[in-house]
Structures are given as C-alpha cells and as structure tokens.
C-alpha cells in the first residue's frame, strides 16, 4: 500500500491524446456515450465535491475500471495495481473539492492516477528513468544491434498476448514510456513534463523500448520460421 499521506501533485490539465479513450471507466460506461463518465459526472461530481459519500461511491463505480486498468498497465502487478487504485481514489477524495473543471473530470482523474503511480515508482527507486543513459547507447544497444535479416520481420498481425508478455518483461523505465505513449496515447512533451525529462529522452527511451519489444517478438517468431 502506498503511503496514503503522500501528496501527489495536483494533476495538470493536459489531456491525454487518448488512443484508448474508449477504455473509459467501468462496466457502467461501456455501452454508450450517454453512460460515459463525463456525461454522467456532472451532478454526481457536484454532490461528491459537497461531501456526499454515496456520490463519491458512484464516481468510483464509474471510473474504477479505467483507473485500475491504467495502474495495472503501468506497474504490471495485480497487487500493486490494487494498492495504487486505492491510493488514487483516496487522493481523489482529498482533492476533489479542488477540481474546477478546467479539463474533463476523467482527464483530471487520469492524470492524478498517473502521478500516484509515478510517485510510487520513484519511491521504489525507479530513477525516472536513468533517462540520461538513453542518450548514451551502450555498445551492445547501438543501432547495429537492430540489423537483422529482413526475412525476420514482424509484418502482419502481432499476437496480442505475445506483445503483452513482451511489454511485461520490459525494464520498468522502458515499460513506463511505452505504456504512456503507445498505449495511453500521451505525447512526448506531456511525458517529458510528467517524468521531468527532456522530450529527446522520451523519444529515445520509447525507441529503445520498441526495439526491445521487436527483439523479443522476433526471438519468439524465429523458432517457428526455421525448419
């Protein structure tokens, strides 16, 4: 359980580009836009801000799936994701009165949850993310490492489960950048702001993450392709 007294930074109103926006929220909001959190939030949100516990429970029901899924993607561990979801909603409970509607509530909450996860990762010693090292490729990670036989390309559909396994096996820093950019849809400038690194480092780290995923997927594919 993360320290619930920790003070996650108030989320900034930078909206995620949201390639996964349809993942919005819980079972209650999967079927139609009318049931999406932001359209349902207005009255419930106002009541929760006024201290109505039942309304806060409704907000949880609307957003739990999206926030839990985000945490799970970012840390790759069920128990940790549960703790982080708990912490994110506790932070929400403490800060909800400060939400002024500068951005969509779901965006604000999404950002709050990311900050909670980042704080936890920092506590665990993930130096975000040894990013400087990314600018100094180790000899074994240099560009030549990517030279492969053209016949071992990944063209065509990638097996989703294989890719998810490969992502789970990435070092934490690479996984974080990959999830934020390629899965969650944040731009490099947003990631740089969140992780306090340069935009160039974000691009470089993402590139390395994709290269590692390519290596992992090719390694899986290789035995199938060779007689």
């Amino acid at each position: 359980m993360p320290n619930s007294s920790s003070s996650a930074q108030a989320p900034r109103p930078i909206p995620p580009k949201g390639v996964n926006e349809p993942l919005h929220a819980g079972a209650e909001d999967q079927s139609s836009s009318a049931a999406r959190p932001d359209s349902a939030d207005g009255d419930v949100l106002a009541r929760a801000q006024a201290g109505d516990h039942h309304a806060f429970a409704q907000l949880y029901a609307l957003h739990k799936r999206r926030i839990y899924s985000l945490c799970l993607r970012m840390v790759g561990n069920v128990a940790e994701a549960e703790d982080l979801t708990q912490e994110a909603f506790l932070q929400l409970h403490r800060k909800i009165a400060t939400f002024r509607g500068d951005s969509a509530f779901s965006t604000w909450l999404h950002r709050l949850a990311i900050n909670v996860v980042l704080m936890q990762l920092r506590k665990k010693g993930l130096s975000l993310i040894s990013l400087d090292e990314a600018m100094e490729p180790a000899p074994e990670e240099g560009p030549s490492r990517s030279f492969g036989a053209p016949d071992l390309t990944l063209t065509g559909a990638i097996d989703r489960l294989a890719l998810e396994r490969a992502v789970a096996d990435l070092p934490a820093g690479y996984r974080l950048i990959f999830i934020l950019h390629d899965v969650e849809g944040f731009e490099h400038n947003e990631i740089a702001s969140m992780l306090d690194c340069s935009i160039g480092n974000s691009k470089s780290q993402l590139h390395k993450a994709r290269l590692k995923l390519r290596d992992a997927l090719r390694a899986q594919k290789r035995p199938e392709e060779r007689p």
Partner: protein
C-alpha cells in the same frame, strides 16, 4: 556523417530514427530507405508494434475489496 540523407549508413539513419519517428515526420519517406531493406524492415516493425500497442491490455475491473479498503480509509481519515 555524410550530409546527403540518401548516402547515410544504416547506423547513421538508425541514430536519427528516434527523433525522426518521434517528431511525427514521415520516416518511411526518408531517402535512406529507398535502397535499404534492413532499415525499411526495421521501421515497418516499429510501426507495427506501435500500432498493435493500441489494442493491448483491455480494461479490467478491480476486485470489490479495493472499494472496501477505500471506504475504510476514508472513514479513518474522517475521524
């Protein structure tokens, strides 16, 4: 490094790739790729991975205990 993009080595091209891809330029139109199967395959793979990422990790429900813990913590904080 050579000044002519079409005469880049693979190492030079791949060193530029993070910026090229990250800046949203059409990396596939880079002159180096006209004659380089390996780098073309590399770029195609990276684009395939990025595209596939959008379908990853379907959302899942947290267990009910999470809400129970949140409620307990809120009550504790309210005392």
């Amino acid at each position: 490094m050579t000044g002519d993009p079409g005469k880049m080595t693979c190492a030079e091209f791949q060193a530029q790739l993070p910026e090229l891809v990250g800046s949203g330029e059409d990396a596939a139109a880079h002159p180096h790729l006209m004659d380089c199967d390996r780098c073309r395959a590399l770029l195609a793979d990276l684009e395939t991975i990025a595209e596939a990422a959008r379908q990853l990790f379907p959302s899942v429900e947290p267990p009910d205990e999470v809400w129970a813990h949140i409620e307990s913590a809120i009550k504790r904080e309210g005392k």
